[in-house]
């Protein structure tokens, strides 16, 4: 610790006692040898930060085209699409392929960010149905059955508590939210009596096509650690048959980033010390013995402190420079008076940096997320001058994928099996004429909801006659009404994807739409979005 004081102030009449002279100098020399602490250093000295002293960012991404072409190609994710990584159907956790990270740390907190895009394949032509877009059906969901997939983060073989998507009781049944007006009636109806109806299999992700992002902060001891994003598919509890042979869910785009945040770094400094040997009786007091060998030596060391002289924890926020280049969050929401912003732009194909309206096809291209009145969601003017990492997180409130209602059985409706909202992150370099999309971030959501938002009948008491539909919230609250999570990691520096010269005009979120069984551009789903945000964290690596 900190402040030290001499035993006595040397005055003219003091005897030159070697013990007292030693007490004048020795504590300062001892303090220098790893005992200087936070109280000894002035605010803002801002020492040089060693490379990756604050954090080390690991990132793996796999981009995989979903088997689609442009919005008007008519392609679809049918049962024959098997090029992704299949989520096991047996309910066991499996690591998402090719993004697992193995890293060696000190005592650290790991900030883990993962994302995956899954497809429940089986979209097929529904011959005889003339409604554009609704000419596609799903061979396995049949419009009512959920995908039953779960994701989680696993560290060293253990699932991190709280990261599992879905309910903790995976076989929980959910009572259906209505109440008969008279349950004591004597009619032959299964809605009477003290019992109630339940929905099964709603404890995991249900949509056929959906992106998932899972994050956690997890403390680890020193050592080597394996960080995985894992997935599984829960068995059904409803009375339908087990998964058919081709009833498969595949993962395509996926990413895993781990930010190692050391909390107690391993010793990495060289020992720094200064010797101030003790005076013995009858030693001559000379400029050399008192000055050069002791006081000067200690003074020079203390005026030029080396790393090993400071105690652990000696530098805190008073002294250290921030290695956070910037941390920005941009937000948009529909302009006043609007419930949502419509985005109707044809998906240009996987990884294609084509923007709406494209010169070759005015219906095609990525459209920048905005408030609907010309204000775009983007983080502007990002200049990188040293080795750095940008962690980009985006969220889009997706109200409705669009499409047209299609009956799937006597009571349930689905607007369009094969209608999709597509989103991705993109950036524009200052030297480029046009932005570039990050293909690994492409995320898709299909029109998955059943019986909600069709505005058929105002929700009310259930009529046991069986002919009425029962509905959910109005369209203004969205048919899908989900958050679309996006993430990406951009590394700048030698040997990295981006160089220092890549000044960015902006980073942004793009959106588009597509529909299976395409008929015409007019039939493109009108994707309705609400609020959206974009977070860009600039982490400097250090030197």
């Amino acid at each position: 610790m900190s402040y030290i004081f001499p035993k006595r102030r040397l005055r003219d009449k003091d005897v030159l006692d070697p013990t007292e002279l030693n007490e004048d100098v020795a504590p300062a020399a001892e303090l220098y040898s790893g005992k200087l602490n936070q109280h000894n250093f002035e605010t803002g000295i801002e020492p040089t930060i060693a490379s990756e002293a604050y954090w080390k960012v690991y990132h793996q991404q796999q981009h995989q085209a979903p088997g689609w072409n442009t919005y008007n190609s008519g392609t679809r994710m049918d049962e024959d699409r098997t090029n992704g990584m299949q989520i096991p159907n047996d309910g066991s956790w499996a690591p998402v392929d090719d993004i697992t990270q193995t890293l060696t740390t000190t005592s650290s907190n790991l900030w883990i960010l993962s994302q995956a895009q899954y497809f429940w394949v089986g979209f097929q032509l529904n011959s005889g149905v003339a409604i554009p877009g609704s000419a596609v059906r799903h061979a396995h969901s049949l419009g009512t059955r959920p995908a039953r997939v779960q994701f989680a983060i696993r560290v060293n073989g253990s699932i991190v508590e709280g990261t599992t998507t879905g309910k903790s009781d995976v076989y929980e049944t959910v009572p259906q939210p209505w109440r008969p007006t008279d349950n004591s009636r004597t009619l032959s109806d299964d809605k009477a009596g003290p019992g109630s109806d339940y929905t099964e299999d709603t404890t995991a992700l249900g949509p056929e096509v959906f992106p998932v992002r899972v994050m956690a902060v997890y403390p680890v001891p020193p050592g080597t650690h394996t960080v995985e994003m894992v997935c599984r598919r829960l068995a059904r509890t409803s009375d339908v048959s087990p998964y058919a042979m081709k009833d498969r869910v595949y993962i395509y785009n996926r990413q895993l980033a781990v930010v190692d945040l050391p909390t107690y770094a391993a010793a990495a400094t060289t020992f720094s010390f200064v010797d101030a040997p003790a005076f013995e009786a009858e030693d001559v007091v000379s400029a050399e013995s008192l000055g050069t060998d002791r006081i000067d030596a200690v003074r020079e060391k203390l005026n030029s402190v080396e790393a090993g002289a400071a105690a652990r924890g000696a530098f805190n926020h008073y002294h250290l420079p921030s290695m956070m280049g910037s941390a920005t969050q941009q937000k948009t929401q529909p302009t006043s008076g609007s419930l949502s912003v419509g985005m109707k732009a044809g998906y240009p194909g996987f990884g294609q940096s084509v923007f709406y309206p494209d010169s070759s096809d005015p219906n095609m291209g990525w459209m920048q997320v905005s408030d609907g009145a010309g204000t775009y969601l983007q983080s502007d003017a990002i200049t990188i001058t040293e080795d750095s990492t940008l962690i980009v997180l985006g969220n889009v409130q997706l109200f409705d994928v669009g499409g047209t209602k299609q009956a799937v059985d006597s009571l349930a409706f689905k607007k369009a099996y094969g209608a999709y909202a597509c989103f991705c992150l993109g950036y524009k370099k200052s030297g480029d004429a046009a932005p570039t999309i990050a293909r690994a971030t492409e995320s898709y959501i299909n029109s998955f909801n059943t019986s909600w938002g069709d505005l058929a009948i105002n929700p009310g008491s259930y009529d046991i006659s069986g002919s009425d539909e029962y509905t959910g919230p109005a369209l203004s609250n969205g048919a899908e009404c989900v958050n679309v999570p996006l993430m990406w990691v951009m590394k700048f520096g030698q040997g990295e994807t981006f160089s220092f010269s890549d000044a960015l005009d902006y980073i942004t979120i793009f959106g588009s739409s597509r529909i299976d069984g395409f008929h015409s551009a007019a039939n493109l789903p009108d994707v309705e979005i609400g609020r959206a945000n974009l977070i860009v964290l600039h982490l400097k690596k250090g030197s």
């Binding site: 003091d14 070697p18 299964d190 003290p194 019992g195 007091v285 400029a287 652990r312």
Partner: protein, 701 residues
């Protein structure tokens, strides 16, 4: 005067301690002021103190939450130093005036952690600090106790408020509604709550009527829990059979299962206070059929008002809820076996409570004891030698078995909680009404008998409660700052090395002491400097200072108090009956300071000065050793040497004739230094007739 043949020489190694007695043991002096013992068995004058954070002009460097100095309008109350986070964080905290400050270091001065505290100038108990679980705990017995974390964040210790009970919603039954069965109104969702009975009609399963109650506890950022809320209003489920209408023949009609009858409830949690970071929700099982003891339901990590859907079966509830109490305002505390022990609360002066292990702000309602059978006010608590001790003003109790107080001493108590400190030899020292006591190995004995005169007659007994002590590892002394008689502040420091007492008077008011628990082993004091230049005020009006005791720098505190060594009354025989002549005194000293000091002689029990000399040198003669020529002010670089100080003797012609007893006093004004080793006297019997004939007759004037 006797000739040389009749001379005797009486020799004394310097008595290192004091005793104000006429017939004191020869090994004690009458007054040893501003001396400290050395490992060599000698005594040397004390140095310092110096300011811990000298006043420098760096106000431009610091923010509004920092100060370069603490001004004297802020009464000094307490100081505490410790290291947190395994030594990573150096924590020096002081309380002055209405604020708590943390030392922030070089060019940052003092960081203001908290304002608005009571600065009581008439306190009965001093501020108390302790450390537990990386938290510094503070109390002054008036305001709410505080917990200070390693990052300087400060918060009330635990919760003083009892949460409001949560509101609840469950199913309802319309008694006059024939259209629906019981439990079908209100918040009626099928769930897993309810007690199943299978004998209502003897044939089919049924749900029994039941009632459930909810409780709430707040959690703060250190994991402390508040006292539980009162019970919520009951959430009720009415009796219902799975086949309520047995006369109906339609088999499908009442196709209900027991799982259809059980319910879930909604729990509306109120918004918590600022310190709340999470709410612990508890629920009883079915109180009609299972138990009335609340059990853990869930932890909601938020302080916001919210509704929690409860669908947990009685069998899945967690551990039983502890009964807790609010954190009271308390006057004394210590730590023991990982718990915070508090005592003497505003409401209950005779109580001692202990916290849950590791959680200094969580107190169970059952963890308390009254050490004194009559509930006498607890004046101190201490953990020592594996036992928890509780003090009242007149008794000492062992709480080794917390629930069974065992009196260790009756008639001996503690009047100053901050005087309770342990020495390196294992003795626990404290200040009782009649002096200092020590407990070693469970045995209590008085250790201040030699200075009874000081303790009984020369201390302000009404202010003893504000005395403050610390153990100074460097000197091996227990030092206790006490208020002298007629003074309101702790300006006298009594020092005990385990065998002898000495005193320090440094023109300072020491409100509190703390010993650093690191390699430096400093003794720090918080207080004011006493001034004499102004008739209108007694204390330096500029600053409250943190003093480093026994250290001297150019920022040192210049104090005019003298170094004084006054001997006990020396006698020619055991009773002082024999008149003698003291021809010469020989003083054995150690080279310390190249200047003169004063020596005075007294005779026959009178402190009226008999003879005085001001040219006693505090350094030996200038022989070939070079000690004198090489003193700091005359040393020549390259020529002068360092020298081990010599033991040397000086002869003083005392010339005391026909005295029954005599004494001497060696004094100097600091910064003069003095190092005493031993004394010797040439004495002879005062002859010329019967020796005893010189004793005055009964009526002599």
């Amino acid at each position: 005067m006797a000739g040389p043949a009749q001379q005797q020489t009486r020799r004394l190694v310097v008595p290192p301690g004091e005793a104000q007695r006429y017939y004191s043991a020869a090994s004690l002096a009458f007054k040893v002021q501003n001396f400290t013992a050395t490992p060599e068995g000698t005594i040397t004058s004390v140095l310092g103190p110096t300011a811990y954070e000298p006043l420098r002009d760096y106000s431009a460097h610091i923010g509004s939450d920092y100060v370069t100095a603490i001004y004297a309008s802020d009464t000094p109350h307490g100081i505490f130093q410790t290291n947190l986070q395994g030594g990573l964080v150096d924590m020096l905290v002081i309380r002055a005036g209405s604020k708590i400050y943390r030392h922030a270091g070089w060019y940052r001065g003092w960081e203001i952690l908290l304002t608005g505290l009571s600065s009581e100038n008439r306190p009965r108990f001093p501020d108390q600090f302790t450390v537990l679980n990386d938290l510094v705990i503070w109390t002054n017995g008036i305001d709410r106790p505080q917990a200070i974390a390693s990052d300087g964040s400060i918060a009330n210790l635990g919760f003083a408020e009892i949460p409001a009970p949560p509101d609840t919603a469950g199913p309802m039954s319309h008694l006059h509604d024939t259209a629906n069965f019981p439990n079908y109104y209100g918040y009626s969702w099928p769930g897993r709550i309810g007690t199943v009975g299978d004998v209502l009609n003897g044939q089919s399963g049924s749900l029994l009527s039941g009632a459930w109650y909810y409780y709430l506890r707040y959690e703060d950022s250190y994991g402390n829990l508040s006292a539980p809320s009162p019970a919520s209003r009951p959430t009720i489920v009415d009796t219902l059979s799975a086949s309520p209408n047995t006369g109906i023949t339609d088999a499908e009609f009442y196709d209900a299962e027991l799982a259809d009858l059980t319910r879930q409830f909604a729990v509306m949690l109120p918004e918590g206070p600022d310190e709340c970071v999470a709410m612990h929700v508890y629920r009883t099982p079915d109180t009609k059929h299972v138990s009335t003891i609340p059990r853990f339901l869930t932890r909601v990590p938020n302080k916001r008002a919210m509704t929690y859907p409860d669908n947990m079966a009685d069998s899945d509830l967690g551990s039983e809820m502890d009964s807790g109490v609010v954190v009271p305002v308390f006057r004394v505390m210590c730590t023991h076996q990982g718990r915070l022990v508090i005592a003497n609360t505003l409401e209950d002066p005779g109580i001692v409570r202990r916290s849950d292990p590791g959680f200094p702000g969580t107190f169970s309602s059952t963890e308390f004891v009254y050490p004194d059978s009559g509930g006498a006010e607890v004046t101190g608590v201490a953990s020592h030698d594996g036992a928890l001790l509780a003090f009242t003003e007149n008794s000492v109790y062992s709480l080794q078995d917390f629930s069974v107080p065992v009196p260790l001493a009756q008639g001996v108590g503690c009047v100053a909680p901050s005087s309770i400190r342990a020495m390196a030899n294992g003795a626990l020292i404290w200040l009782a009404r009649d002096g200092f006591y020590a407990m070693t190995g469970g045995a209590i004995s008085k250790v201040s008998t030699p200075i009874d005169r000081t303790v009984r007659n020369y201390l302000n007994r009404g202010r003893l409660g504000m005395s403050a002590a610390a153990y100074d590892s460097a000197s091996g002394e227990y030092r206790c700052a006490v208020p002298p008689a007629g003074e309101q502040h702790n300006t006298l420091i009594l020092c005990f090395d385990g065998a002898h007492w000495r005193r320090q008077r440094l023109d300072l008011h020491i409100a509190d002491f703390t010993a650093t628990n690191d390699w430096r082993q400093y003794l720090l004091g918080l207080g004011h400097k006493k001034i004499t230049s102004s008739a209108s005020k007694l204390w330096d009006s500029t600053r409250v200072e943190t003093y480093v005791m026994d250290r001297s720098t150019k920022h040192g505190v210049t104090t005019a108090e003298d170094i004084i060594y006054r001997s006990a009354w020396l006698r020619g025989d055991e009773l002082g009956l024999l008149p003698i002549n003291v021809r010469s005194m020989f003083v054995g000293m150690i080279d310390a300071w190249n200047d003169d000091v004063t020596i005075k002689f007294y005779r026959n029990g009178s402190w009226a000065e008999h003879v005085s000399m001001t040219d006693l040198k505090s350094i030996g003669v200038n022989d070939d050793s070079g000690v004198v020529t090489d003193v700091a002010g005359a040393a020549v670089l390259g020529t002068s040497k360092v020298h081990d100080p010599r033991l040397f003797w000086r002869q003083i012609p005392a010339g005391l004739e026909n005295v029954n007893s005599w004494a001497f006093e060696i004094s100097a004004t600091r910064p003069t230094r003095l190092h005493l080793a031993s004394f010797a006297f040439d004495i002879s019997a005062a002859t010329s007739g019967s020796v005893k004939g010189r004793i005055p007759l009964r009526s002599d004037t």
